[in-house]
């Protein structure tokens, strides 16, 4: 009898051990997945911080595109044969390459934007009149770059490889001569999108996201604060107020893509606002984050003890004065926290932006709220859809920056909440 009892108790205890074990395993699984996600993306992405460059000396005849007093003539500089100039100089490094076909292959190991890049370098330097020889570093092509980073192994059969044996030989020869090497990839931070991975950067997307979020916060924050104050202090309990509440709670759970559809049919086709513009993107994301901020703001207003408000009312302050002078300033940290979380959500959002055309290929850094733009997550989406390996690593690096930034935003929110968490 006693032994039975003991066994019974032991088996009851075992259930508990098992439950604990499931719980721990679940948490470890989640943490493991987080680690896998971040590490795999990190390993993929860190190499994009570098880019393969080659050193080359190129003769230029500045008199062909500068005026007498040394100013660059806009129309002439664009007509100058930059591609040819760079290619001819590059050909000189490999004098044995003669035939048209071979030369074409040779030029494929350097960036097809070399001519343009060289032109931009020339524009920035003040040149002597007449012929000069410039020594510059220019980008190798993305395939050569991936080969140098060891991402394209020689073990793969040649026909499945994006870079041929001959091209590998040329690249190796450049490396041997110490005129090709991996250097810090400045382009990634200073350029907008491009068809060529070696000329593509995130600046366009970063500016696009910044413009979009500016609209989002200008739109959502005032509306959310005003709506929250109304609902907390002025709304008479009744059907209208209930209906507003139900709507806000539901909107918080509506799939984000539906907001994209709303933007497409209301902002684009009814109001005729421009496609792909940060203005529209910001409004759509603003509508999307509005419920998040309202819910946070109301919670924060409610956490202010009513005695503060009563004190103000007892002194003859009106309801509005009590709310604006006392409650709102005290609720500000909570409102800020909610806003940061809402903005983080908006910054990471992709689907609604696809609907309103912010998925376009745009090579300029956007300059206004109505110019065509893209955003960080959309850029990541587009790059990971491309065929070139070199875009994968750029996509990963972009993710690292985006996620890093989001984590910082969330940390600020957490710290803010901790710091201002007042026990009344």
């Amino acid at each position: 009898m006693d032994i039975n009892r003991k066994n019974f108790t032991r088996s009851r205890k075992r259930v508990e051990t098992r439950l604990k074990f499931y719980g721990l395993t679940s948490i470890c699984f989640s943490l493991l997945m987080l680690a896998t996600l971040l590490i795999s993306i990190g390993l993929n992405g860190y190499t994009a911080l570098q880019q393969a460059y080659f050193k080359i000396s190129i003769p230029v005849d500045a008199s062909e595109f500068t005026s007498e007093d040394g100013n660059i003539l806009k129309n002439k500089i664009n007509l100058y044969d930059w591609d040819g100039t760079v290619n001819r100089s590059f050909n000189k490094l490999f004098p044995e390459v003669k035939s048209r076909d071979d030369r074409k292959k040779l030029f494929s190991i350097i960036s097809s934007n070399s001519g343009y890049d060289f032109k931009e370098i020339v524009k920035k330097r003040s040149l002597d009149k007449g012929k000069t020889v410039l020594t510059v570093w220019l980008s190798l092509s993305d395939d050569a770059d991936q080969y140098l980073k060891g991402r394209l192994s020689k073990d793969i059969p040649e026909k499945d490889r994006r870079i041929s044996n001959q091209e590998i030989k040329w690249v190796d020869s450049l490396v041997e001569r110490k005129i090709a090497q991996l250097k810090f990839n400045k382009t990634f931070f200073t350029a907008a999108d491009s068809r060529e991975p070696e000329s593509a950067g995130i600046l366009g997307a970063v500016v696009g996201s910044a413009l979009t979020l500016t609209i989002t916060i200008l739109f959502a924050l005032p509306l959310a604060v005003m709506a929250s104050i109304y609902l907390e202090y002025f709304a008479k309990p009744g059907k209208v107020t209930d209906f507003i509440e139900v709507n806000i709670n539901n909107l918080a759970a509506v799939p984000s893509i539906v907001f994209g559809l709303l933007g497409l049919s209301v902002f684009l086709s009814t109001f005729g606002l421009p496609r792909s513009a940060p203005l529209v993107g910001g409004l759509v994301l603003g509508l999307m984050t509005l419920p998040t901020i309202i819910i946070a703001t109301r919670a924060s207003i409610r956490s202010i003890p009513p005695s503060i408000r009563e004190a103000a009312l007892g002194l003859g302050a009106s309801k509005m004065q009590a709310a604006m002078h006392h409650v709102l300033p005290l609720a500000t940290p909570g409102i800020l926290t909610g806003t940061i979380i809402g903005m983080a959500q908006a910054l990471g959002e992709t689907a609604p932006l696809l609907m309103i055309g912010m998925v376009a290929f745009i090579i300029d850094v956007p300059s206004s709220f109505t110019s065509s733009a893209t955003a960080m997550p959309v850029q990541i989406f587009m790059w990971s859809d491309s065929a070139e390996r070199a875009f994968y690593e750029r996509s990963s690096l972009a993710i690292l920056f985006l996620v890093g930034f989001l984590i910082i935003m969330n940390l600020i929110a957490v710290v803010l909440r901790k710091k201002f968490e007042k026990r009344w």
């Binding site: 948490i27 989640s30 997945m33 993306i41 759970a253 509506v254 799939p255």
Partner: protein, 461 residues
């Protein structure tokens, strides 16, 4: 005529309104000095009243004209282009019109004399519009400001007026939530109805075949593409089901451990870490699913002799599940912790173990909240877009095999609406049909979830 850009008009408007703020404030002080009586409220409220009346209505007019004006000019010129040659079809006219606009803005050049003339007129018309916009806005601001300043007497209760104005503004802000929902429903319904004009509603709802690849010709008969949403819906449910298989057990057990077993210190670290998982953008999960998880499942499947599609529902679903874990765990954690301590004490006091208390007392008590959390998570999974766009397939198959490739509602919406599609194309319209279905599906889940969990919180209040 000189141009009046938006920013300039806005600055002037602010200036005019500020002027009336100070003007009203000063004039009320003078007026009350004249009759030797203190003004009923602080003088600043008289200023605020004038400012609000001068600024807000004019600001609304400014926004309205800026939104509708250019559209109106475009419409006029659309007709003008049409006059050039009545045989042009609409899309060709749009093309010419955009060329005219680009020429007018100096973005491109042209040799075509007709376009040049039109562009010139377009430029003048736009400048005229901007000029009148500025004029109307400034006039409106000045007149209202002047009127209000004139009407205010020291015995006017300006504070009351300002507050009523602001409360009405607040009310309108709150109503935006209703307007948003209404415009979602109306816009989806409007476009979807156009679709159902072209395509049978019941065939859409119950059709077993989804192949929206209508040829590009404009004289195409709609029936050539088929839009039966069942396979798309089935794909959505399959992916969501896989996601739930991952997220529900992991999320629930994590929540139980965190709420009932974990030391407070450990909890303080693990909770924010899990929240990082929740804060990662979905496009990142999509990237992970497409480039890491899908090849992994394919290779593992291949090594044990299973053929796994490289766009398998399994990969998309599993990664989506990982995304939803923190969602379920944090909602459930809140629900479990909301169960009153007295229930725990009661059970433990009877000699129950912690596990028995959890299984027999806490979980049943928290059940409505947990159901609510799971329903919200399902709604989230169904509406999730980026993971499936990047990792799931495009072809609609009616299958329950998780190793096969399936498509989902959101994937179809994205693929139908990205790229340069005509707005009245049947493909575009079908996307709104899907959007409407998606909205109602998730709406029902959300309403049930919110109602169920509200019951819980009422029970323990």
């Amino acid at each position: 005529m000189f141009t009046l850009p938006l920013s300039f008009v806005f600055v002037i408007l602010v200036g005019v309104s500020l002027f009336f703020f100070y003007f009203s404030k000063k004039s009320i002080v003078q007026k009350s000095a004249q009759i030797g009586q203190r003004s009923k409220t602080l003088s600043t409220y008289y200023g605020q009243n004038a400012f609000l009346w001068s600024f807000i209505p004019s600001c609304l007019i400014l926004i309205l004209i800026s939104l509708a004006g250019p559209n109106y000019v475009d419409q006029i010129f659309f007709a003008r282009v049409q006059e050039l040659n009545p045989k042009f079809n609409d899309s060709f006219i749009s093309l010419i019109l955009s060329k005219v606009i680009n020429v007018a803005n100096g973005k491109i050049g042209t040799d075509d004399q007709k376009i040049l003339t039109l562009a010139n007129e377009y430029k003048i018309a736009t400048e005229k519009l901007y000029f009148y916009r500025g004029l109307v806005v400034i006039l409106c601001a000045s007149m209202l400001g002047l009127l209000v300043s004139y009407l205010q007497k020291p015995k006017t209760n300006a504070r009351d007026k300002v507050e009523t104005f602001i409360i009405n503004l607040f009310f309108i802000s709150a109503v935006i939530a209703i307007l948003t929902t209404a415009s979602i429903i109306l816009s989806l319904l409007f476009e979807a109805l156009k679709f159902f004009n072209l395509y049978n509603f019941f065939e859409f709802l119950f059709g077993l075949h989804w192949a929206p690849n209508v040829a590009i010709r404009t004289d195409q008969v709609a029936s050539d593409g088929s839009f039966g949403m069942i396979p798309v819906l089935a794909g959505t449910l399959l992916v969501s089901f896989i996601a739930m298989c991952v997220a529900i057990p992991v999320g629930l057990y994590s929540a139980i451990y965190l709420a009932e077993f974990a030391a407070p210190k450990i909890r303080d670290y693990i909770k924010p870490t899990l929240e990082i998982l929740a804060g990662i953008p979905t496009v990142v999960y999509g990237y992970f699913a497409a480039l890491t998880a899908a090849p992994f499942f394919r290779d593992v499947g291949g090594s044990i002799g299973l053929s796994v599609s490289s766009e398998s529902a399994l990969a998309a679903g599993a990664v989506m599940g990982i995304m939803i874990i923190p969602f379920i765990s944090s909602l459930s954690d809140d629900v479990i912790r909301a169960v009153p301590q007295s229930l725990r004490d009661g059970s433990m006091g009877l000699g129950a173990t912690k596990a028995e208390t959890i299984y027999r007392v806490i979980l049943p008590a928290a059940l409505p909240g947990l159901v609510g959390a799971v329903l919200l998570a399902v709604s989230r999974a169904i509406g999730e877009t980026m993971i499936v766009v990047m990792a799931a397939g495009l072809s609609a198959k009616l299958t329950a095999n998780p190793l096969d490739s399936v498509t989902t509602v959101t994937v179809q919406i994205v693929s139908l609406l990205t790229g340069d599609t005509e707005f009245d194309d049947i493909k575009t319209l079908s996307a709104f049909g899907l959007g409407l279905a998606l909205f109602f599906f998730t709406l029902i889940l959300n309403v049930i979830a919110l109602t169920v969990s509200r019951r819980l919180s009422e029970r323990y209040e």
